[in-house]
């Protein structure tokens, strides 16, 4: 398994929107989805999700509602709004273009030796 890496600034919102494009989910489920989809490569301090979720909700990109969770407990589920879908499409496109450009710049650089763990 690769070493866990910090999330790049500004990408948490994009990942939250991407996870919610599939189905409504609560905070714990979103954290699990990011962990699983990244192949356990991304280190998310899960508490940081909540300010981001409320901020995205405030911007009208998500809608939050209380429902019964699969564990039979009340949980707050977040759903992507129409505006959120549009934002996700735009941000995904922008991210892919940026990542592709960086990839082309570093293409010729040889990977460094693996750091030894203490």
């Amino acid at each position: 398994m690769p070493d866990a890496a910090d999330i790049l600034p500004g990408t948490l919102d994009l990942m939250i929107l991407a996870v919610l494009a599939g189905a409504p989910e609560h905070g714990y489920g979103i954290a699990r989805a990011i962990h699983a989809r990244s192949g356990a490569s991304l280190l998310v301090e899960e508490g940081t999700l909540y300010p981001a979720l409320r901020r995205l909700e405030k911007k009208g990109l998500l809608e939050g509602a209380w429902r019964q969770s699969e564990a039979n407990r009340r949980a707050r589920y977040y759903t992507l709004s129409a505006e959120g879908s549009r934002r996700l499409a735009g941000e995904t496109d922008r991210w892919k273009r940026s990542a592709g450009a960086v990839e082309r710049v570093i293409a010729g650089v040889a990977p460094g030796p693996q750091q030894e763990r203490a």
Partner: protein
């Protein structure tokens, strides 16, 4: 009709205030749900109760910090809604002046700071607190580099340092934290040593003014401040200064906390008794500098309205167009 509107307005206010508590209760339930699921996952992996709880805390991070930051986002939204409802109601029931004053008053909290000086050196943010310089690690649990990033995102890279120095309450807001009257600061000695947490540090206007003055050397050489004004007209009669702001003449009580008598004294000392009115009008930035206050893109005007109401208007731009208009009004023959 008016009674119905008033009742609806009061109902909206009451519902918003009670919703605030419910939203924060909901947040606690939401965070508790997440922690419980993490603990159950740990137990399912064979950890004992104690280990599962520790693992849940490790993965979640600081629960209190998460709550504080999320509550900040919620409160900020509710705060704006409350202001909108209160203002709307006051205008509806015929108190536009009171509504206007309330709106202006609400902006004054932004001009405060918990430190008295700020420096940006070698990637670190240094702040002056209680007479000593410290490396700033965090405010309200938000790391200094996160605050810098929030400032750069909200106000642009060119203004990131300025805003972080002079408008920390707004920067905290941009980072999702609602600043109260006090904040906690995590500071480390500049010479090295363990960080210390200073709780309940007051956010005061005097601190902010000292930050501003401390950065005066940065602004003093800036040519932008040579020919700007925050008002479009000024007259001095019998020791009373009246200024034109947004087309209305008000008595000027203070600029950025410097009261009018002090402004007059500074203008007299720097430029001579016979040029006080001219300098207050056409060279107010230089007068402020002479009074020990560095000018900036915006100032706070403390005015007495024609109705006799004392108000503070924050964020008044210092610009060349206003200064030109003022100059033309004072020199009509040359226009």
């Amino acid at each position: 009709m008016a009674r119905t509107i008033t009742r609806r307005w009061l109902d909206a206010l009451r519902s918003l205030w009670s919703r605030g508590d419910a939203d924060l209760d909901g947040l606690d339930e939401e965070l508790a749900h997440h922690m419980e699921r993490l603990e159950r996952a740990g137990l399912a992996c064979g950890l004992n109760e104690h280990e599962a709880r520790a693992e849940a805390h490790r993965r979640f991070g600081d629960v209190r910090r998460a709550r504080r930051r999320t509550a900040g986002v919620i409160r900020k939204e509710q705060h704006m809604l409350k202001i909108a409802i209160v203002l709307g109601g006051l205008v509806l029931i015929g108190s536009p002046v009171a509504a206007w004053s309330l709106a202006l008053e609400d902006q004054t909290w932004q001009k405060v700071a918990p430190f008295t000086g700020v420096r940006f050196e070698a990637g670190a943010v240094l702040v002056e607190h209680a007479g000593d310089w410290w490396r700033l690690d965090a405010i309200e649990g938000v790391a200094a580099d996160e605050l810098y990033a929030a400032s750069a995102l909200a106000f642009g890279p060119d203004l990131a340092e300025k805003r972080m120095s002079e408008d920390i309450a707004e920067v905290l807001g941009a980072a999702g934290v609602e600043a109260g009257r006090t904040v906690s600061m995590t500071l480390a000695p500049v010479a090295g040593g363990a960080p210390q947490v200073f709780g309940d540090v007051e956010m005061t206007r005097d601190n902010r003014r000292r930050v501003w003055a401390d950065r005066s050397d940065i602004r003093a050489n800036d040519a932008r401040w040579s020919r700007v004004a925050p008002y479009t007209g000024l007259v001095l009669e019998g020791g009373v200064v009246r200024v034109e702001h947004n087309g209305v003449w008000h008595e000027l009580l203070a600029i950025d906390g410097v009261e009018t008598p002090a402004l007059i004294a500074s203008a007299a000392a720097a430029f001579g008794e016979e040029r006080i009115e001219k300098r207050l009008g056409e060279d107010i930035a230089q007068v402020l500098l002479a009074a020990g206050v560095a000018p900036s893109e915006t100032v706070t005007l403390h005015l007495r309205t024609p109705a006799g109401v004392s108000i503070e208007v924050t964020g008044v731009s210092m610009d060349a167009e206003k200064r030109d208009e003022l100059w033309r009004s004072r020199h009509p023959a040359r226009d």
